[in-house]
């Protein structure tokens, strides 16, 4: 059994040295219970649970996968027991309102627990994560009656939840969906249609499944404007909360996938017999708006999923590199008597570990920062301040989902590489982490869609105020770093990078509103790459500034850690930042080749 699946020292650093998670206890009465020591205990208990219960079911979940027999979905054997344990310990709704069974924990502090859980077994955690997300929809848009009937049972995990959007003809373009809703005399709606790719759409770990479902009310406008959101239970729920008749929600099959085998991906037929009944969640034709409100959170969660795979792959790779003996030290290559060394001593392996290190650290800080912004928005004393932090969340969400999962997959691939041939063998966890990680770049809006969101909506949001405010925060970090002589030179380079991004963003924003719009969008993903790189540079500089300040008085055991943070910055500035500048030069070219090329020029 592994002792470590993620880097606890770094988690503690981000929580308590970068974002001062414990201080929220004094900042707002809702958070009063969560001082530093309590947070530490929660993180420790989350770690224990993750390592003792979730991790041992990770490989088993992959190997057994889900099966579909006689119309029923069977999940891996161990999942039911672990799911019950997770719920008995009340982990499912850590950050939600205690009135509905949540724990009211600040989001920043919850980040660490999510990282542990997802790093241990994210396909399993999807059942809980989607339940939480679906519950949140009920909490935000439900009537009192809907909340009474569903919410506590969802936040306690007694029933699970899903997100039912996708149809065969409606993937990235949700507006194309054809599932219909017909109003009944009693105010309920009859739902009819076919959904596909529904995660956790059917399973055997809980008694009921509540599906927030997108459908079009008969006669509603075409496209996204005519979409409404409904609550559709698998089993109907009586007024007293007890289970009634099945609701004509039928799983017709499950997918065989590259990864996340433990999580069922279901095709669902709604109302095949004309007996599927749902209730409206929120207002008619406002379904997409409701979904959008939840989108940032759901996308951030996907960022965490991908990141957690990377975070675990990194720890495995480091441990493996410390143990695997192979080859001589480069400097002793010619000495026939030289002993073989552990591979961590080879410069190329060190470089790979360094690559993994900088992106894992940068991404951790970035993801936790988005949660920090949520907490800051919640406790903001003025409307202006609240808007500021909400603006940050808007701008950073496509990066936290798109850029982070792109890098996470790269990191998982590096993890396989560090293991050499053994990495490709399923006996070691890095192979599964790589496979599982891949879907995070696709669902909850493909990373292409994220990039378009960044270019098309987020850069110009509120006339560019959020992004300019964010630059303001970034320049504060630069100013702090410049005060430290050993960091000054790097800080100047990072500042130049920030300034160049402003220039590139303006250029791209203008191109997107000109006749070059297609070329601009052909460059949206590279723009997301460059922007993400800049966020990494920001976070690494911020972290190094703290490390440099703390080094002087650091305890002996912390010295290598802080020195490592300084090296992360050096590596990024020396080796990565020039590539980012190159990317930005490419963006200034805004190549139109990809849109100019005739589709016929691709091979037939």
């Amino acid at each position: 059994m592994a002792q470590q699946i993620v880097d606890r020292r770094d988690i503690d650093f981000v929580l308590h040295e970068q974002f001062m998670a414990g201080d929220f206890a004094e900042k707002h009465e809702d958070f009063a219970d969560f001082n530093k020591k309590t947070i530490d205990m929660i993180v420790s208990e989350a770690r224990t649970f993750a390592i003792k219960e979730l991790l041992p079911t990770y490989k088993e979940g992959d190997e057994q996968g889900c099966t579909f027999k006689n119309g029923e979905v069977i999940t891996p054997e161990s999942f039911k027991r672990v799911y019950d344990l997770l719920n008995e310990a009340e982990w499912l709704a850590m950050v939600e309102d205690p009135e509905w069974g949540g724990q009211g924990m600040p989001r920043l502090a919850s980040s660490a627990a999510y990282e542990y859980f997802n790093a241990a077994n994210y396909p399993f955690m999807m059942y809980a994560g989607l339940t939480h997300g679906a519950g949140k929809l009920v909490e935000s848009f439900g009537t009192d009656e809907q909340k009474e009937l569903f919410l506590k049972k969802m936040y306690s995990g007694e029933w699970t939840g899903t997100m039912m959007l996708t149809e065969p003809g409606a993937g990235s373009d949700v507006g194309a969906l054809t599932t219909t809703a017909t109003k009944n005399d009693d105010g309920t709606y009859s739902i009819k249609g076919d959904k596909i790719f529904i995660s956790g759409g059917d399973h055997d770990i809980a008694d009921n499944i509540i599906h927030p479902t997108l459908a079009r009310i008969e006669g509603a406008p075409e496209g996204t404007k005519g979409i409404s959101l409904f609550l559709v239970p698998k089993i109907r729920v009586n007024d007293d909360g007890s289970l009634g008749e099945p609701n004509d929600v039928i799983c017709t099959g499950i997918e065989h996938k590259l990864g996340i085998h433990g999580n069922s991906t279901c095709s669902i037929a709604l109302g095949g017999k004309g007996e599927c009944v749902g209730t409206l969640l929120g207002e008619e034709n406002k379904g997409m708006k409701a979904m959008f409100l939840m989108m940032n959170e759901a996308r951030l969660l996907v960022g965490y999923q991908g990141f957690a795979c990377a975070s675990a792959s990194y720890i495995h790779a480091v441990n493996y590199a410390r143990e695997r003996v192979q080859g001589k030290n480069l400097l002793e290559m010619m000495d026939p008597a030289a002993q073989p060394v552990t591979i961590i001593n080879h410069p190329d392996v060190r470089r790979q570990l360094m690559e993994m290190k900088v992106y894992v650290e940068g991404a951790r800080s970035l993801l936790y920062y988005v949660n920090y912004c949520s907490d800051m928005a919640k406790i903001a004393e003025t409307e202006e301040e609240r808007e500021k932090y909400e603006g940050f969340i808007e701008v950073l969400t496509p990066i936290a989902k798109g850029y982070v999962t792109d890098r996470a997959f790269d990191i998982c691939s590096q993890g396989v590489q560090v293991y050499g041939g053994y990495g490709y063998i399923e006996e070691f966890p890095v192979a599964q982490l790589l496979r599982d990680c891949r879907i995070t770049m696709i669902y909850e809006g493909t990373n292409g869609v994220q990039a378009m969101d960044l270019l098309g909506r987020k850069l110009g949001l509120k006339k560019g105020k959020p992004i300019m405010d964010l630059f303001g925060e970034m320049l504060k970090t630069v100013a702090n770093a410049k005060k430290i002589p050993s960091l000054e030179a790097d800080a100047v380079k990072v500042e130049e990078l920030f300034n160049k991004l402003v220039e590139v963003a303006l250029h791209m924003g203008q191109a997107a509103m000109s006749e070059k719009v297609l070329s601009a969008f052909a460059n949206a993903h590279p723009l997301m790459d460059a922007t993400g790189d800049v966020m990494m540079a920001w976070m690494l500089l911020w972290r190094a500034t703290i490390a440099a300040t703390k080094l002087e008085k650091a305890k002996k055991k912390d010295i290598p850690f802080y020195e490592g943070l300084l090296k992360s910055l050096t590596y990024f500035v020396d080796a990565k930042l020039p590539i980012t500048i190159g990317r930005m030069n490419g963006l200034m070219n805004t190549s139109s080749a990809a849109v100019d090329i005739d589709a016929a020029s691709f091979p037939s």
Binding site: T38, I51, E88, E90, Q103
Partner: protein, 255 residues
């Protein structure tokens, strides 16, 4: 009724232990509540809930960091904690004296739980020494316990799986075994609540422990090296099968 549970702050069983100076371990690993003590806490909490006006008190000797282990015990349902803060290692003779002193200064025990052993030192002596010091009866590797006002009826598992049933007068000392119960993970609200419970600190020197004439100390620590030596098994298939069977039965003792 006061139920004391002696808990120990030990390295995580999954940790990679590094030995330093041939005499101590590198403590830069995760430390947790000793797994046997989890059974002890779970049982103590169960018994407490059946008696009015009773409480569970977790006692630990260790560095200040050991407060985390007490907090884990509190999250699992103990009501308050006692930490005897000491930076030194203590042998089981001294440990039992310290525990007794801390308990006596706090109240009158009706039951004292320990784990059947700690997973780091595996001394298995603390409960007996504690019993001797207090003049209480002791049973260890306990897998079942029923308590009333005056006595405890317990099942104790012996090697080979035999079970003896004993009746112990109260107060008594009980070493919890794995079979006693299935410890539950603390719930999120209990973790949060545990912060508000009190942990009283004693300084080791203030307890005026009478030094023992006898003592035990670690001379040398060595990592366990599992010698692996390959053996070639030859012969035709039926002979090979027979040999493997013999090895599995007699050497590996797995069948």
């Amino acid at each position: 009724m006061q139920i004391y549970v002696c808990v120990k702050h030990v390295p995580d069983s999954a940790a990679n232990i590094t030995i330093l100076d041939k005499s101590r371990i590198d403590e830069n690993v995760t430390f947790l509540l000793n797994p046997y003590d989890e059974h002890a806490i779970t049982e103590a909490v169960r018994i407490r809930d059946t008696f009015q006006e009773s409480e569970v008190i977790a006692v630990c000797i260790g560095k200040d960091d050991a407060e985390k282990t007490i907090r884990s015990a509190l999250a699992m349902g103990a009501d308050r904690g006692l930490l005897v803060s000491s930076n030194d290692d203590h042998d089981s003779i001294e440990t039992a004296r310290v525990l007794k002193a801390a308990i006596e200064r706090t109240g009158e025990p009706a039951l004292i739980f320990t784990g059947k052993e700690s997973i780091d030192a595996e001394g298995m002596q603390t409960m007996f020494r504690l019993g001797a010091l207090f003049d209480f009866p002791v049973a260890t590797n306990v897998i079942k316990i029923d308590v009333d006002e005056t006595r405890a009826v317990i099942d104790s598992e012996l090697s080979g799986g035999n079970v003896n049933t004993y009746e112990l007068s109260l107060p008594c000392v009980v070493g919890a075994g794995r079979g006693l119960n299935t410890p539950k993970y603390p719930t999120f609200p209990d973790i949060v609540k545990s912060r508000k419970k009190t942990v009283k600190k004693f300084i080791f020197a203030d307890l005026n422990i009478e030094p023992s004439k006898a003592s035990m100390s670690i001379v040398e620590l060595e990592p366990l090296k599992q010698a692996r030596s390959p053996k070639e098994i030859t012969g035709d298939a039926s002979i090979v099968a027979q040999k493997i069977l013999t090895i599995l039965k007699e050497e590996a003792k797995v069948i």
